[in-house]
Amino acid sequence: MSEREKQPTPQGGDILAELEAEVAHELEEHRPPAGGPAYQVVPTLVALAIGVTGAVLSYGYGLGTGRRPGAGLWPFVISVMIIALSLILLVVGRKLQDSERFTRTSLLVLVGAASLVALAAMLPTLGFEVPALLLCALWLKVLGGESWRSTVLVSVGTVAAFYLLFLYGLRLPLPHLF
């Protein structure tokens, strides 16, 4: 972007620009294929919706005047900025290649997130030991594809270590059965 300003000599600018292209390429190699225009348009529309909702709600909170700013003035200004930026992105960002396509493995993320919610829901009533053990087993065996042997060893080891570390070492107030 601004490297040309910083590097007045033409040769110097070249090396840095070349280097940046190489770095970008290097990072690219580790990334899955990019998604299509829908991957750009949908999130931008979500941002736009957030901006519009924010603007409408904060208008309702009262804008006030510059001398006596209302509760809604600041969030209203921010929301208008979100709307403006989203509209810009809608125009310029259609063909960007910086997204990643969802694949079948994306389902693992869904399972992972759901298991975290379940852990949190069970925590207050069941204590942390059993849910933690179940979460470890699920993540190791199903999501991670580990063998049963390492699943059992790591799960039990982790829960035991956390028991000692959190309850005795750091004295965190965690609900526990034992």
Partner: protein, 508 residues
């Protein structure tokens, strides 16, 4: 001076030394292991750290940050996988050296360069930070407002990713910061009559979600699968010839790193790029670069550590975090009841000098860890990421729960984790959002206070000398990329003859 020496007394307390060691060890570990970056790790550990003494907690979190810079080098050299964005350039010559059987030398030079760069940077920090803080003590709300605005803008435009996307993420972060009771009028904003939202979103929970859970979920999909087989490492100690060859690169890298690190945004990334480019430019044999030139490892590694160190300056003196990891330190300080800013040096000299001076010790520890003990860390590379995933997930959930014994907090965190994951998938960086969220309350507060001072006239920002200057820089930073973009667009769209010969070469 006395406070500076007292700082060493603070560091040498056994508890603080221990936390410094734990911090740099964790930093080194996460730098070596793929997956979690330093800001995610710091976010995940926030709930645990707040039970510790503030000075020890900040020393440890700082250690994680600069420790990760050392660890990232190891994977760059041995596996061609940069642990951190700031280690990407190290891959070129580092991996080439490893293929020639000189992995040990590359790691050794990188460790020595990192140590020298960081140490020079700490000395410079110790000398300049009090000056900056003293100067900033007179800052009023208008100066803070413009400074925070500039910080958010710089993070968005300099950092990786599309600048408009980063700005959208940042502005949504600012909007999220307004959720809850308005401190001026007591009105409820965006709470939807929820009692739990009335107090606003807890930034620890939001940061843990966007950084921590977001990265954990993202990594689940990656499925690293096969364990990595690193190149063999022998003979870490660089020869006298290697040292002599890279001494210039280390010196220049330190200076470049220090100055670029102070800038908000990708300080360490930019510094490593600039240092590498400088070495290649002034080298008599530039063709060696990319084929295993030892300067090509020394320069970026020195620079990124120097930059990592100097990026503490804006946080400790102005209260403006320069990057995502600094935003986590900022959050930690707030949770611990310490307001970061120019008054920090006067109000909490023990904390200021304790943290700054702990970096001398920390870097010494890292030098020891990364030269004689490098073999241990190389072996850690064989640990499969699948084994670490549930452990980090558990730390995150249990930590978030323990904050307020609230399941609601955990649900909010997971929700933000899913948002963070989706952002990563669609090319939005969560960094600017977290940073803007953390700065949001201060920004709004300062803007509204300023408006009161100016009697409702927003031009007041431009007429005060310091805030006016900052505002001018703000406009410059905002407009320059647009101008450059338009110029580039004109160049590519029309066959206009160019006077500068390099332009043709840079055309796609």
């Amino acid at each position: 001076m006395e406070a500076f020496l007292d700082g060493f007394a603070v560091v040498s307390e056994p508890q603080n030394l221990l936390y410094c060691l734990i911090g740099v060890l964790i930093g080194m570990l996460i730098g070596v292991l793929p997956g979690l970056g330093p800001s995610a790790t710091m976010a995940i550990l926030l709930p645990i750290v707040i039970n510790v003494d503030p000075v020890a907690a900040i020393i440890m979190l700082a250690g994680i940050y600069y420790g990760a810079q050392y660890g990232g080098t190891i994977t760059s050299v041995l596996l061609r996988i940069p642990g951190e964005a700031s280690s990407v350039v190290t891959v070129f010559d580092g991996f080439a050296m490893a293929k020639q059987g000189k992995a040990g030398t590359a790691l050794g030079i990188a460790a020595i360069g990192s140590f020298v760069g960081a140490t020079i940077s700490i000395v410079a920090l110790s000398l300049t930070a009090p000056l900056v803080a003293g100067w900033a003590l007179d800052f009023g709300p208008p100066e803070y407002a413009t400074l925070a605005l500039l910080g958010v803008l710089l993070i968005a435009t300099i950092g990786s990713g599309h600048p408009v996307k980063a700005l959208i993420a940042a502005t949504i972060g600012l909007l999220l910061a307004t959720v809850g009771r308005d401190s001026f009028t007591n009105a409820q904003r965006f709470t939807f009559d929820s009692l739990q939202l009335a107090e606003g979103l807890d930034f620890v929970v939001v940061a843990m979600g966007l950084f921590g859970v977001g990265e954990i979920l993202y990594n689940l999909e990656e499925r690293y699968g096969k364990p990595h087989v690193p190149a063999a490492v022998s003979n870490i100690w660089p020869s006298r010839k290697d040292l002599k060859q890279s001494s210039g690169a280390i010196g220049r890298g330190s200076v470049i790193g220090f100055f670029l690190g102070v800038l908000p945004g990708g300080g360490a990334v930019m510094a490593s790029l600039a240092a590498y480019a400088t070495e290649k430019r002034i080298s008599k044999t530039p063709e060696r670069f990319g084929r295993g030139a030892v300067e090509g490892v020394a320069a970026p590694e020195t620079a990124n550590n120097a930059a990592a160190t100097s990026s503490f300056i804006p946080l400790l003196t102005l209260g403006i975090p320069a990057n995502a990891s600094m935003a986590m330190l900022f959050a930690a300080l707030l949770v611990l009841g310490v307001r970061p800013g120019p008054q920090l040096l006067e109000e909490r000299p023990d904390l200021f000098w304790g943290v700054v001076n702990s970096m001398y010790i920390g870097n010494l520890l890292l030098l020891i860890l990364s030269i004689p003990l490098v073999g241990v860390f190389v072996r850690i590379l064989r640990v499969r990421p699948a084994i670490l995933a549930p452990i980090t997930a558990l730390i995150t959930v249990l930590g978030a729960y323990s904050l307020n014994n609230s399941t609601f907090d955990v649900f909010v965190m997971i929700a933000f984790g899913i948002v963070g994951y989706l952002m990563k998938k669609t090319g939005f960086e969560p960094g600017p959002m977290v940073l803007a969220f953390v700065l949001g309350a201060i920004l709004e507060d300062s803007v509204r206070r300023s408006l009161l001072i100016f009697d409702g006239d927003p031009t007041g920002f431009a007429t005060r000398p310091i805030s006016g200057t900052i505002l001018a820089i703000f406009v410059l930073v905002a407009v320059l990329p647009i101008v450059a973009g338009v110029r580039r667009h004109r160049r590519t769209s029309g066959p206009t003859p160019d006077s500068e010969h390099d332009r043709e070469e840079s055309l796609p």
